[in-house]
Symmetry: C2
Subunit: 291 residues, 2 copies
């Protein structure tokens, strides 16, 4: 069976045709422009290639509730041309195959569970710390969704006692994303993350915020693995700082060998997939989920 | 098919034999004493009655990870006699049927989804605000579990600016449970909740804390309904206060008609089941889950 997969990002779209073993047979990358211009290219790529299903991991706040009339429509994104655009419906009408749409982070979690750093467990949480902060999860054999999709980056956390930066989330000022995203780091310290490598205070504060969020995610979701990706996590020194803070904050409350100094480096980890994670996850999504 | 169900609470055990329509055919309630004394009574009740499966909704911090060697063992509870007691294994060996164990709050969520106030949706979150604060969820056709079970009551939240009470969680001082459980209310204000009905400040502060937690749960789990139970929630005036705070805190970020002033009273609701919720949920658990 041939399947289509799309990693729909704010910068570029990766399009692929693959089989149910996750092998990619054909691939193309196109820039994300106005949807009137980008979508015909997407349709062209998949048209008459014999795909039987199409999976999409999408950027923005996208409606992934299959019972909703706006399923597959972007609701909120800095790429304003795309807001309200019935992305999923147009693909479905033009390609005449089932189209399954999920958030990019849910698809990344699914992809890590199938082909990456969480193949040995039944559930995982994927968090990206980049321009924004987002999280997706794979559990009970499916991605996490409900009323809407998760917006894990917008939880309220406690401020670090030395932090005077007001936060830059347009909705909540100092939610997690408002305090700990890449742009928040840049605005607080006056330089981009990669120019602040030697400033210990930056990474201590960043780890404090991310660890607080991760502790909450553990209490609420109890994932069997946590994968941290995105531009900011290229600062590898964050990993040991985050792990140490998580253990301190949990204070022994959740009993698992993974949540000890000895094993936490197998619990909070980097992504196992790089380049093709999004598009491979989209193929898997198309195989796994029904519409 | 006959099924057994147990609501195993810290005060009492409710035992029931039912069928797969959720009808209860025989029921008994016994006090929770030392396990050496209580468990033989439980076994007696079910022995030779022809049950084919047994579901248990259990108090305490209980291991519900089926891959764990301590599955069905209580790990942490004020009833210290029960800590480390291989509760699930003993039932299984003596009754020779599959025993499926889950937390009381997961079972309550499942029961509300099947027979209570969440029968019209696919996922729900059940939160109890009583001696402790706990949460369980039903989603993707199963209860929420992973590395361990959820401990939603122990998330960190921001303190109310007028709150000087240090919090009473033995692990974290001022986590949600440490600030907003029934005993926390009593210690902060010097009287039990039901004696504080006319003190507006009490309920404003309580609603502020619970709404913060609920907002985080929405961002992370995105449940299609939230059910609030437990002794403290008998203060019905909390419901409108919580709903108002949740809408303010979300600040329009999650777009759903349910999260508007008009419909939020259908989203954040009381339990639909009372007396038999736990034991009916345990029957359903035994039907639904595999071991
Ligand atoms: N090596 C790095 N160290 C620290 N921060 C980085 C690094 N690389 C990128 N970032 C930050 O991450 C953000 C971009 O995140 P990224 O995950 O690459 O893209 P996006 O989130 O837009 O998909 C920017 O704010 C950038 O400053
Ligand atoms: N009507 C009420 N108003 C306010 N608080 C109450 C009320 N009833 C019980 N509580 C408080 O709830 C807690 C007991 O919670 P409950 O859910 O009844 O039991 P448990 O959590 O032990 O199963 C106590 O701290 C008690 O003070
Ligand atoms: Zn925010
Ligand atoms: Zn606590």
């Amino acid at each position: 069976m041939l399947i289509g997969g799309i990693e729909a990002g704010g910068t570029k779209f990766v399009l692929a045709i693959g089989n149910d073993q996750g092998e990619i047979l054909e691939k193309q990358t196109i820039p994300t422009e106005h949807p009137d211009y980008t979508l015909p290219k997407v349709i062209d790529f998949f048209k008459n290639k014999g795909i039987e299903r199409l999976g999409v991991g999408a950027f923005g706040a996208i409606d992934i509730n299959q019972n909703s009339p706006s399923y597959g429509t972007l609701q909120e994104t800095p790429k304003t041309d795309w807001i309200g655009y019935p992305f999923g419906r147009i693909l479905k009408e033009n390609l005449e195959v089932p189209v399954i749409i999920d958030t990019d982070v849910n698809v990344a979690a699914m992809s890590e569970a199938k082909w990456g750093n969480a193949t040995d467990v039944d559930s995982c949480l994927y968090i990206t710390v980049g321009t924004g902060i987002g999280g997706g999860a794979y559990l009970n054999g499916s991605t996490l969704k409900g009323l809407s999709h998760s917006e894990m980056g917008h939880i309220k956390i406690r401020r670090h006692k030395e932090d005077t930066y007001k936060g830059n989330c347009p909705y909540h000022d100092d939610c997690l994303e408002g305090l700990a995203s890449g742009p928040a780091i840049e605005k607080r310290w006056g330089k981009k993350g990669h120019e602040l490598v030697d400033n210990e205070k930056v990474w201590d504060m960043e780890a404090y915020y991310l660890a607080q969020a991760i502790t909450n995610y553990i209490y609420i979701l109890s994932p069997e693995r946590i994968i941290l990706g995105g531009g900011v996590m290229k600062q590898q020194q964050l990993f040991p700082l985050i792990r140490k803070n998580v253990i301190e904050m949990l204070n022994g409350y959740v009993s698992s060998p993974y949540l000890t100094e000895d094993e936490i480096d197998q619990y909070i980890v980097s992504p196992g997939l790089t380049d093709e994670a999004g598009v491979k996850g989209a193929l898997y999504l198309a195989m796994m989920e029904t519409v």
